[in-house]
Structures are given as structure tokens and as C-alpha cells.
């Protein structure tokens, strides 16, 4: 599988990142099998978070077995020093490792959060301290919120190694600033910050719960995903062709094998084909940035 330099980290990430939230929906045996499958395809970048149910615990055994092969991303939703420090310690314990390669401020949504994170006694202090202690190698940021806020964060946090944000043909077809994740990509690229794409496979928001109750939803994603091999491949190719470092797989384990196949076979996408996809989808609804909570 193709690899690309992850910003200035010195690491080459596979063009697909395994979103380990998928492990949350599996028993331990199934989780082990899925991690083996992902590794068999050569994927070397994993992403997990303490908010993904017990995904950290289920990732643990195979992660420890294959630690050298895996670039491990984890996250914190805490915005202040103490909380972030505690969550990092908890994740290290739950994962059973002594170091996280990329520790990310998770799910930035509001300006005041950015103030807290970057201010005195903010989460960044804890992350930088952990970095100096060798618990964390690099610091990153994730958001499916307002692209302008992510741009602010890129301007204000000068040691960000990566940023994770939505990028798909639906948002690429919309002109309003609220959908302008391409501007985030461009700024990150200029700054040589690694780019991790999420929501590449989003078809749209789920119908209302009146129309389709949560228990009847066929996928454990917080948006409705595309779910055929051709659509998955098209979406993967589009996201990878934008130049992202890596495309993060969707949250439902049933979709992961199709994404692996798409990532294995990725060999670019012509500009006219990218435009075709945008034109086909630009009137669709986007699940970002309206639905912020996952």
C-alpha cells in the first residue's frame, strides 16, 4: 500500500489509516482478526480514542504484539492541563504501551475551547510536557467543526504535526466557508502539517430517528456511509487524490475490508473524474459540519 510522509514527523503513513473505533463493535477474537487483516494489508497508521467505547482495550493485545509496525494515534477531549494529563495516562494504561506516536486534541468545535487549550493551564501544556517526558512523540488536532476554527488553530499552535478533518466530494462541491475544508488542507500542506482525512465515505446525515430509528441503522457510523465496493473505491480515490497524507477508514467494521481493498488498489484519480464525482454529489446534504457530536 502506498505511503506518504506525515508532515514533518519523519514517519511515512500508509494512504489508509485504520480507524480503530471499528473494534468497539466486535468481540475480542473478532477485534484481533480485524487488526491482523489490516496489518496484512500493510496499514501502518492506527487511530484510536478513549471515547470509542472499549476500542483501546480491544486494540491493546495486537498493538503490543505488533507495536513496531504501528504508528499509533490517540486523542483527548479534555481541554485543560489536568484532564488531558489524566486521559493520556489512562490511554497508555488501557492500550498497554509506554508511548503514543501522535496524541491529538480531539474534536475541536468552539473558539472558547481553542482559548482554553492554548492558554495557561491548557491541554497543550500537558501534551508538551508528555512530549518532553517521551510519552508522546507528536501533537495533532482533530475536528469536524468549522473549517475557519481549524485554520485558526493551525495559525496559533505552531508545533502541530498533524490535523484531522473531513474531506469528501460533497463538501468539495459547496462554496460556503462553513464547508471549506479544502482551505484547511491547503494551509496544512503549506505548513507541512500531516493531513488525515475523515468522513471520506459519508453519503449524508442519517434520516431522522422517526424515519429510521438508531437501532435499525445498518452501520455503526454517526453518518450514513456509502456501502458498495465501487462507491467506497470512488470515495477513497477522491480523498487520496486530493493529496491527504492518509484517509481514515469508517467506523463500522463491515466497511473496513472494502476500504482496505480500495486503498490497496489506489492508483490516482484524474481531475475530470474528481470533478464528475463532485458534480454528481454537490447537491447532497453533508453530515459536516452541522452534526458535530459523534
Amino acid at each position: 500500500m502506498e505511503t506518504r510522509p506525515l508532515g514533518e514527523t519523519g514517519h511515512d503513513s500508509t494512504v489508509m489509516t485504520f480507524g480503530a473505533i471499528a473494534l468497539n463493535w466486535l468481540e475480542q477474537d473478532g477485534a484481533d482478526q480485524l487488526v491482523e487483516l489490516v496489518l496484512d494489508h500493510g496499514v501502518n497508521h492506527f487511530d484510536v480514542a478513549p471515547t470509542y467505547g472499549d476500542a483501546e482495550l480491544k486494540l491493546g493485545p495486537k498493538l503490543r504484539q505488533h507495536r513496531a509496525e504501528i504508528f499509533l494515534g490517540c486523542k483527548t477531549q479534555k481541554r485543560e492541563y489536568e484532564g488531558a494529563k489524566r486521559k493520556l495516562e489512562q490511554s497508555l494504561t488501557r492500550l498497554g504501551v509506554d508511548r503514543i506516536d501522535l496524541y491529538q486534541i480531539h474534536g475541536l468545535e468552539y473558539e472558547h475551547e481553542l482559548e482554553t487549550i492554548t492558554g495557561e493551564g491548557g491541554a497543550l501544556e500537558a501534551l508538551r510536557e508528555a512530549q518532553s517526558e517521551g510519552l508522546v512523540d507528536h501533537i495533532g488536532l482533530t475536528s469536524h467543526g468549522d473549517p475557519q476554527l481549524i485554520l485558526d488553530a493551525l495559525d496559533r499552535i505552531d508545533d502541530l504535526a498533524t490535523v484531522m478533518f473531513p474531506l469528501n466530494p460533497v463538501v468539495a462541491g459547496k462554496d460556503d466557508d462553513e464547508y471549506d475544508y479544502e482551505a484547511v488542507f491547503e494551509r496544512a500542506d503549506e505548513l507541512d502539517v500531516g493531513t488525515l482525512g475523515i468522513k471520506a465515505f459519508a453519503k449524508g446525515p442519517w434520516p431522522s430517528t422517526d424515519e429510521l430509528p438508531e437501532r435499525d441503522r445498518p452501520y455503526a457510523n454517526w453518518y450514513e456511509p456509502v456501502d458498495t465496493p465501487d462507491e467506497i473505491r470512488e470515495r477513497f480515490d477522491f480523498a487520496a487524490a486530493q493529496g491527504l497524507t492518509s484517509v481514515v477508514s469508517p467506523g463500522d467494521p463491515k466497511l473496513v475490508a472494502m476500504v482496505l481493498d480500495a486503498a490497496d488498489r489506489y492508483d490516482g484519480m484524474s481531475e475530470e473524474a474528481q470533478r464528475s464525482l463532485i458534480e454528481r454529489l454537490r447537491h447532497e446534504q453533508s453530515p459536516v459540519p452541522e452534526q458535530l457530536h459523534h
Partner: protein, 239 residues
């Protein structure tokens, strides 16, 4: 105002800023929006369809109203002076012009163009033989021929339109592919089926009824299809 990527791509290498532009065949104003966004000093959005004229007018942001003139006019008789337009766009126009109109539209666009004027023609190559949408478009053409005496759609190859305008003194600049394949979405298919049905409703007797039924059936069967190519040809008049 979302501007389709086809429009932004076609205009990307054209000098729009500060220019007086003509969107020939304004449709719902996609290119007018693109020209305004790209800094045109003035855009004449011309359409012979009253509903389209209203749609363009409503689409233009109030801040751009003083830069925009929506004209309901026939492209063969433009209400514009000789040598008055610096850049002309025809985005998805020619496929709705029947062959006998080509010369008079080309002559009229040339008349209003300044020396050095740019022309961008974005349109569709003829569809491949195995495209399902061909049947719907053929039916649409049959119904409009019967109702109005002219086809609704003609897909001209890029080379045909290029040579047409070269014959009027324009110089070829560049050609690029905008879409490959072209996404004929459910919305497009339904819109074409509706045109066919409207025309068929004016055809009396069993023939009209069967055309209407066939249009509905085809729209359902096809649903959506991505097929064919959209091109952009750019030309310029000698300065």
C-alpha cells in the same frame, strides 16, 4: 451561490477580472455566478426562457446586482452593441440549439465581441452507443420534433463547434476535458423525462400517450447514469 467545478475549471485560465462578460444561455445562472465570483465588471446573462431569467435574477446576490443584467432575449438577435463584450461563455448551451441555429448564433456572438474577446464553450460530446440515457434523449427529441418541429438536444463534438467559430474569425486557444464521465443524476434524468412528457402531451392520439408512458418508464429504469464527456473549448478573436 455554489459554482459548479466545471465552471470554475473552465474559467480558471481566462481573464475574467474587470471584463464585461456575456453568459450566452444563462440556464439557472451557474456561469453568471462563476463570472461574478471571478471578478467580472459586468455580466449580461442572456436566456430566452422567462423562468430561467427569473431564476438567475433571484440567484444573484444583492451586492452583485449592479454588475448583472439579466436579459430575456434570443441569442440570434442580441440586444447588445457591436464590440461590447470582452468574454463570452456558452456553458451547456449548444446542446439545446438545433443545427440550423448554429450559424446565426455564432455570427451574433462574433458581432458583439470586442477584438481580443475570449470565448469559452463548454458542452457534451455525443454519447457512446451503449449509454442508457441515449434512449431517453432520443425519445425527448422525437417528442419535441413532433410537437415543435425541432429536436430538444443535439450533442456536437468539440471539433465541430471549434471549426464553426474558427470560420467566424476566432482563433483556437485550448481544449480540456471537464467531466469524464458526465454524471446524469436522477434530477437530470427526471428533468429530461419531464421535457419529453410535456412535448408528448402536445402530440395528439395514442402516439402522444405512448411517448409519455415511455418517458416515465425510461426515467425509472435509468435512474442515474454516469457516461460520456464534457469538454471546454476556448477561443479568442484577434486583437
Amino acid at each position: 451561490m455554489d459554482v459548479p467545478t466545471t465552471v470554475t475549471t473552465a474559467l480558471a485560465d481566462r481573464p475574467v477580472t474587470g471584463r464585461v462578460c456575456l453568459e450566452a444561455g444563462a440556464g439557472v445562472g451557474n456561469t453568471t455566478a462563476g463570472l461574478l465570483k471571478a471578478g467580472a465588471s459586468r455580466v449580461y446573462a442572456v436566456t430566452d426562457d422567462g423562468e430561467h431569467a427569473n431564476a438567475v435574477y433571484e440567484r444573484v446576490d444583492s451586492g452583485d446586482a449592479d454588475r448583472t443584467a439579466v436579459l430575456k432575449a434570443d441569442l440570434r438577435r442580441l440586444p447588445l452593441a457591436i464590440d461590447s463584450v470582452d468574454l463570452i461563455t456558452a456553458h451547456g448551451l449548444f446542446n439545446v440549439l438545433p443545427p440550423p441555429w448554429l450559424e446565426s448564433v455564432a455570427a451574433e456572438l462574433t458581432r458583439v465581441a470586442t477584438p481580443g474577446c475570449h470565448l469559452v464553450i463548454d458542452d457534451y460530446e455525443p454519447l457512446p452507443d451503449d449509454a442508457a440515457v441515449r434512449e431517453l434523449f432520443a425519445l425527448e427529441n422525437a417528442a419535441t420534433e413532433l410537437a415543435e418541429g425541432r429536436p430538444a438536444l443535439t450533442f456536437y463534438p468539440a471539433t465541430v463547434l471549434r471549426r464553426l467559430f474558427v470560420g467566424y474569425g476566432w482563433e483556437f486557444d485550448r481544449q480540456r476535458t471537464l467531466l469524464d464521465p458526465v454524471p446524469w443524476t436522477t434530477g437530470h434524468i427526471e428533468a429530461h423525462a419531464e421535457v419529453a412528457q410535456t412535448a408528448a402531451s402536445e402530440v395528439s392520439g395514442e402516439l402522444g400517450a405512448s411517448l409519455m408512458t415511455a418517458a416515465e418508464r425510461l426515467a425509472t429504469e435509468i435512474g442515474a447514469e454516469s457516461v460520456g464527456q464534457m469538454y471546454s473549448v476556448a477561443l479568442q478573436l484577434p486583437a
